[in-house]
Symmetry: D2
């Protein structure tokens, strides 16, 4: 079987396609024929060697994928050959709050899924929502679970602010609509504004430096939840309501300005960092996706052989929606 | 101004329309010109003299109404003449859990709203959702708030079962859809089944004696929430999932069969009685109604003079949707 | 190694001690030298053949035990030889709400721990609190976790009612004190009343038929939480406060009177069935036990050879505290 | 009756004692004979003119007090002459989350309680715990309610870190003990360390620059909750556990260092600003205080005439415990 391998620090040019022996599932493990993987910003950081979590010196890259079970190891009882599955980015984070024991991650300290066949622990598997294709399901493990977690506690009637058109922001928009929340989406492009409207945003605002004032003009008390993917807390804290929450998803750009703690105190709102989510959150999210008939936004699909090209496209083009690499 | 009055125990025939002096709002109070009221099953019980909570010997009946502020008393600062308002059934239940101190209720131990003018404490007022008419808003205080409370804790992707086509059940169906839940609605009429589908039910099942088995056939683990308006807990507990909840809304019919506590234990699900909700819940519900553009189902409207006829229609016809009496 | 075996339906007389080959831990499994086990009422039901959950036709009985790790199988990384451990009654219930997939249980559908050596999945293990002996730790898996779960959501200042002096009730009393709650304990013996006071009960009331009235006399609004181990919900619902909760732990006696659902509705309180708890709850409980220095109440210890005598003592004597069988 | 008055910006020297006409309670209001008031850091900021919230140009200072009801206005039904009461710092914040409508505050935008008689809305009153003196009860409204709110969600077995010996920190220590949590208290004085131990701290650490490392050495995963009264979030975020929380109480000193948002993200912990609490939280706290028999720490009492001296003592001496001014 074929597998892509990466060397952290070597960038996209370091990616190489090679033959590998077919892996054998051990006790409690499952062999999955990967049908699609999707790219997240973390993959670029892994290749650049700047990812914040531990990474193997030589690895099968990419955390997110979906496929079909082709064999099961001893002691596997709940999973059957033919099951359509995906897997949590942190395979050992089953439920409850995150802890240091859950740090091992696919496509980081563990091999990832950019291969024709992968072995995964049965406990890490999550069934694919019935109405989704493998390509669509492959977009879920990182971006969708992060967005779902970022919205935890949001109630129907709340106001949610999303920033831009990255993977997490699009899922946050779609989930917030599903939850009955009012969505104010921010973008700096008129073309993207139309796309955000079509996905269900109740209001799309231009992302000018004073966007928090615009949000307050629209939402009165401020937003109940801001899904902050930029890390510019000073802005988000000006837009959020007293007793609201800023979900801090991470930092796409490198540098973020320092924060005056008095601004945080004065906002009266909490800041909660989000690092993906547990398998239990993933399963709960999938139930919501099935009931709501939600379809992830896929920007473009590449063939397995063209994985390096897919990475370059993802890096250069700022796609609206996920970039997917299909296999099998 | 004109006002209807009732004598508990005298039934609908005891209703009488009479002239009364225009009331004057005291400190912290507001004078409201009532534009519409709606009927709930509790009103029939009040007239029959069989209501479970204390009722005045002679009272202005009906708890639910909506209208326009026409004067404010001293010390009223947040409410203005012209505001479109409704009021909580328990006017002193502002927030938090219910307590014995919140028992006084409109159209029961306190005069109700079936009058052209009523005086209410400012703290009891709740703004009317912007997109609703007075007739629509008048349906909210009892049935909608009860349904909203019955669904508290429901998450997107959960399965919710509603029983029949009473006011609470219709709102529960509509709210569950708004929250992203899957709704299985039960009814014994094919015509009503079509109406429930049109309101958004994902599945409508025939309400046969073995309906819990039907629900389990459809929902696997059982329903995450059953909104039980019949009080037949034995059935609801057979349909609910382990760790789910039966929201026990009350008893429309008189007699309910006794319950074997072992059935409750064996279900693994909680039972939670629902008695309307607080003003804070009412306001949160209204935000969800506004964002979702939800419109209450109004079966028929009657003129103020025809209030007794409206009661008779409500009692005899099992309407699908609320019966409203308009004024002004 | 020696192991006790039981035949459901054969009663205590069916218990037999026999030699068995030393078990070998497979992948993800651990070999534990059992140092102590404790008896719960479920063990009697298992022996009588009247237990509500599935039981093997021939089994190693008893769910609760504590011991020392003596060997680990392949793929076991977090557990070391010498670790002092106990295990959850439902070994596969790691976290989150209970589901049908968690039904397999020690000393029921799975072999239990009344043996000198047992093999357990590593994921089922829970470390023994540092200050507890093996005998004390062996009392925790069923009774203590059940009591802990029954008190979930109780806040400092709440009023908690406990019934009698069974294992769950004693732990509920001790945990409620630990949580800063006020404890009203009920018993029908003066001698036991003194013991309950010594364990921290703020008030001990005589368990007369009108005990709910006594609780209301003492606690005003009623109890915020009643830990009902008798299944007589009609009494508990008269003692509980509006918006409070009855935690329904199970039924020690055989017959329970039927319940009028109107009493449940009128109480305004929820009823929640309790079936032990997850490993995550077990671990959280142990942290509280360590910080509070809580010591379980052990009534009497028996030698491994005298296990049948221990069962008879437990059945006949209504001990105050747990009956423990030590090994090794 | 006599009343102290203050001019923001004029400092302690601007305090003046003067005669005033006896106030008369209006509708819904109550006349309280103040028996004791206590000082918080906010009072110094009000006098200095640097308080962050709006302040009257000339006011009766001090938010915290306790006294006895001596008269009630029309429409007051639940309060009786002779009741021992205190009041919430934000009188209109009854329950639920804080909102802009709750901003009016005693001793700030509203007159405070450093007077022999004050008029308060009945809804702002909170009964004094039975076992507390007026002096002790006067310490509760600001510091204790803040500490209680800062600990909301803490469970038995959690680890709580408190900083120093200010009013909020002492209450946080005492409440955390009451809740069954493990308390690690930080101080830079050996003498104070002894006092903190005596109040129940499980561990007292020296407040060196690397105190977060000390906390991690002691608590392994870090603290589940840090009650940060210094505003130096960079330190608190190094001490807190993943999925834990830093309760940000405010800033005693003027300047706080800026925060790198990446540190917040990397901690995996939430930051939640605390601004006192609602009357509902105040009442819940008082129930816990009564059950636990908690006694606030009073450092020193001054006579009503010596109020200015009390302020100077509070400003200069860094007392361990609250400074109280008694009246009547």
């Amino acid at each position: 079987m074929r597998s892509w391998r990466a060397t952290p620090g070597a960038g996209i040019d370091g990616l190489r396609l090679q033959e590998a022996p077919e892996p054998v599932p051990g006790p409690g493990e499952v062999l999955v024929a990967v049908r699609a993987v999707s790219l997240s910003f973390r993959e670029l950081l892994v290749l650049r060697g700047t990812y914040v979590l531990p990474v193997k010196p030589d690895l099968v890259p990419v955390s997110d994928g979906a496929g079909e079970v082709v064999a099961v190891g001893p002691g596997v009882h709940r999973t059957r050959v033919g099951d359509r599955v995906t897997a949590g980015l942190f395979p050992s984070w089953l439920d409850g709050p995150f802890g240091p024991e859950h740090l091992p991650q696919l496509g980081g300290s563990l091999d990832g899924v950019l291969a024709e066949l992968v072995v995964l622990p049965e406990s890490a598997l999550v069934p694919v929502p019935r109405h989704l294709s493998f390509a669509e399901a492959a977009t879920l493990p990182c971006a969708a679970v992060t967005a779902w977690n970022a919205l935890s506690g949001v109630r129907a009637g709340d106001t949610v602010v999303t920033l831009g058109t990255g993977g997490v922001s699009l899922f946050a928009l779609q989930f917030a609509v599903l939850l009955g929340a009012e969505v104010i989406a921010l973008t700096s492009s008129e073309d993207k504004a139309r796309r955000l409207k079509a996905l269900g945003a109740h209001e799309v605002l231009h992302r000018r430096p004073d966007w928090p004032a615009e949000v307050r003009f629209r939402a009165g008390r401020g937003a109940d939840r801001v899904v902050d993917v930029a890390g510019d807390l000073s802005q988000s804290l000006r837009a959020v309501a007293v007793a609201g929450e800023v979900a801090l998803v991470g930092f796409i750009g490198g540098e973020v300005p320092p924060l005056d703690p008095r601004l945080l105190f004065g906002s009266g709102a909490s800041v909660r960092p989000i690092a993906v989510g547990s398998q239990a959150q993933f399963r709960a999210m999938n139930r919501a996706i099935e009931v709501g008939g939600l379809r992830p936004v896929v920007d473009r699909e590449f063939a397995f052989e063209d994985a390096a090209e897919a990475f370059r496209y993802y890096e250069d083009e700022q796609p609206l929606g996920k970039v997917v690499i299909t296999a099998g």
